[in-house]
Symmetry: C2
Subunit: 503 residues, 2 copies
């Protein structure tokens, strides 16, 4: 039903807007399932979500999308319109290159693998999950071949999360990180940690008060409650239905302060990004982040650079103590600051500190590449995992549940996804340093509980662009150079050097 006088580019936009609407509706089906849906809705909800996914996919891969993309191919690649077409084309091509039969096989295999993984982890029994991974891995290799690549099949999968990223480039990045983090970890381990260091974070922390405190903080960050809301879920997430409606969820533990505290800062960081996207990008492929890594840079920036800094807590700790006078009795600012900044080897990625976290990612990246290069086989994965844990982090999982089975990602077929976490960590410091270089008053403002200048810099240089630029372009534009591990390593060195009184 083409309207009169409508250009082909406008028709492309209408089509993409329809796809975006269907996906937003599907996102709401997901959000509702995680937050409010009664148990009885499970079966119907699965059908509804499958149907909306299918409809969005069918509209995307329809030949008409391709024709309209071709007809809009001569737009200035540096314009917003050109960027929109480039993003849409990338998605169209990734979707159309994958044979429907392969997509169906992957969907089926991962749907079966998820519960098997949960059972395998519960029983710490690799043999329950291994056959599923044996099935998924070749399918993902076939997907990589179908998608195509220049240098390495792994690049084809990486590109789905981090446009333009390559295995060789990641190897260089991880090499630099390894060279910086391993000695840091060694030095800290030699000094040793007081076992009671994290004790202040455990105790009786009323959930409603935790919530109020988190709300106060992220409101000061600049999270706009007229364009968002917060709900409770087992696994926290941020979800956007357009720049006008970006929601976060939080998990509260009445006996442990850390999950809700840093989880809220983290999800608010994602949300600030989405709330800051140019509103004109609503219902277009530009209403998103530049990449998973850039998105993670924003959540990590607010969680760690801001939310685990001494400046931040010099303002907020008195408020936190007023909120929990009993639980935090006798805990002074420095003690609290040390408690939230322990550097120590750990077996579980999601519990790792800022520095060793990247070793957990490095390990997964190396194992994924080895699997893709047939240097490693599924049967040997647990042993390889444990060896690398010993080598990099210095610990050995006591079983596969706290080892190779700890993450769901491989059950979901998400090969190439893990590295974006570390890209996010590295970029968080590169961006933060650049903001401080432009506005040296930022640290002093954080100490006053003020974040407007920092948020303003992020809005101007990152958020408003949405998905307009690929990550390498955006990083270059915002910081004048490509991704650089030096600021990150120097941040870690300075922070933990001071905390652990290293030389």
């Amino acid at each position: 039903m083409a309207k009169e006088h409508e250009t082909l580019y406008e028709r492309l936009n209408d089509r993409l807007a329809t796809i975006s609407d269907v996906r937003s509706a599907n996102s709401l089906l997901f959000w509702d399932r995680q937050t409010h849906m009664p148990k009885g809705g499970i079966a119907s909800r699965a059908e509804q979500m499958a149907t909306l996914s299918r409809l969005a996919h069918e509209m995307l891969v329809d030949g008409e999308t391709g024709r309209l993309l071709d007809a809009s191919g001569d737009l200035d690649p540096c314009s917003e319109e050109g960027a929109l077409v480039r993003r849409a084309r990338r998605e169209y091509e990734r979707a159309t290159k994958l044979p429907a039969e392969l997509v169906a096989q992957i969907t089926r295999a991962t749907a079966l693998a998820e519960p098997a993984w949960a059972r395998a982890r519960g029983e710490s029994d690799w043999s329950v999950f291994a056959p599923h991974l044996e099935e998924i891995l070749p399918l993902k290799k076939r997907a990589a071949e179908a998608l195509g690549y220049e240098d390495h099949p792994y690049d084809a999968l990486l590109d789905g999360y981090e446009p333009g990223a390559k295995k060789a480039w990641l190897e260089a990045m991880f090499g630099e990180l390894k060279a910086g983090i391993l000695p840091l970890l060694r030095e800290v381990t030699e000094k040793g940690n007081d076992e009671n260091r994290t004790a202040p974070l455990y105790g009786a922390f009323d959930e409603a008060k935790q919530e109020r405190f988190g709300v106060e903080v992220v409101t000061r960050f600049g999270y706009d409650w007229e364009r968002g809301r917060q709900d409770r879920t087992v696994h926290p997430f941020c979800i956007s239905f357009g720049p006008g409606d970006v929601r976060i969820t939080t998990r509260f533990d009445p006996g442990w302060l850390a999950p809700a505290l840093f989880g809220t800062f983290h999800e608010a960081g994602h949300a600030l990004y989405q709330q800051g996207v140019n509103p004109a990008y609503a219902r277009t492929p530009l209403d998103g982040g530049a990449s998973m890594g850039v998105h993670e840079s924003q959540s990590r920036l607010w969680e760690n650079l801001v939310g685990r800094s001494r400046a931040f807590w010099s303002y907020f700790y008195p408020r936190l103590r007023d909120t929990f006078p009993e639980a935090l009795r006798g805990v002074d600012l420095e003690t609290f600051y040390h408690a939230i900044n322990v550097l120590a080897p750990s077996k579980i990625r999601v519990e790792a500190d800022e520095a060793t976290y990247n070793l957990h990612i490095l390990l997964r990246f190396e194992l994924e590449v080895a699997l893709f290069e047939d240097e490693l086989f599924v049967a040997d994965l647990p042993a390889a995992w444990n060896a690398k844990m010993k080598e990099y982090v210095g610990v050995t999982p006591k079983n596969d549940a706290e080892g190779v089975l700890q993450d769901i990602h491989w059950a979901d077929g998400l090969f190439g996804y893990f590295p974006t976490y570390t890209i996010g960590n590295v970029l968080s410091v590169q961006f933060f340093d650049e903001a401080v270089k432009a506005h040296p008053e930022i640290p002093a403002q954080i100490q006053q509980g003020e974040f407007a200048v920092l948020l303003g810099w992020l809005r101007e240089n990152i958020h408003r662009h949405g998905s307009r630029y690929d990550p390498d372009q955006l990083v270059q534009k915002a910081t004048g150079r490509p991704l650089d591990t030096a600021p990150y390593l120097s941040y870690l060195r300075n922070k933990f050097g001071e905390l652990y009184e290293l030389d």
Copy 2:
């Protein structure tokens, strides 16, 4: 993408299931907008809902739907499959008979009329709304012609809400009701009402306590919280996403007990119907009610036949008094029972009592028919309204805001909808009487706060059938005769005769 070995009937079912999923997703977009959506989501949400409506409509009117319906046309009309095809065909035909251009005009006209109506009512200025109705009315007449009818154009619109209903049949029904209710109203008016009769319902009623009380009641009714939930909205409603997820919403007034109390019973009545639909009907056109009128019969049954009965309150009033000892101090059961059962002329439909409510509907029905027969013109509507209010109810609105402008229905183009409210009232008693005839212990059980036998009868005779039967079939099957006003009139006569000590 037809699957191998799939029959045409199965393909029809797949197609209808897809449409059902898209509509359920759209329902969730609506539910979320009314309950939880932040303000900033308004614009995007409107787009999302318009897109999903359009997609569902396009799939419905697609020629493939017609072909699959034709191919399934030889199924036994008495079987579930035959009923499913009949329902689907009716909807398909109603949708395909309306030219797309007419649908678009009606959508546009009603979208503009809604805010105009709100402003007109706010300013009590008919001239603000009249031009919109002047535009909508001819469009609805064109729709009636396009849909087709045997006897009267109004029937074509009625049929969309109450399959099989006709103007002539409604005239007979309203004639009987008028003959019964007008004398009743006259007799009660002669006796007169104590002005303080409703006073017990006003006072300080904590909202959380109102909510707890309502939850206790509808849980006892049999509302299944594992397949539903309750939220707060300005306008209460019930919404189903399939038999496993049927939600209600409630409005609480901390100074007035009635809205949340009877609103919760009412919406729970709708919800019990939907929760009781055969689960095998999920994602089919049979997952609904037989008609709007039959649906309303279920909400009215629980709201009025149960929820305003002496038997019910003889069990629940002590609990209500325990909940609100201050506000209900000195109010005994009889006083409370009288307060919730005042029969008195009123100007506003939604505030009317059980009996005169139908006069408000009668008035609208007669005006709608006159408009359709060109016996009445939009310009003369306010005067005609006031004249009929005086004649039937005995009151004269002091302005159009509390007169002809009180309801949004005409701004939405909902001609033919009002009569279903009265059909619901009439059927509620016909069904209830039949249930009591089959199970004479029901009244005594209600007095014990037990509803299982009543709900069981409704489940067996009404709920489980969903939309399988047309209303006339269902009423015949459940009660052994067609819709009958006699039980309803005798219910009103007995109840209010006793309350007002009439002869």
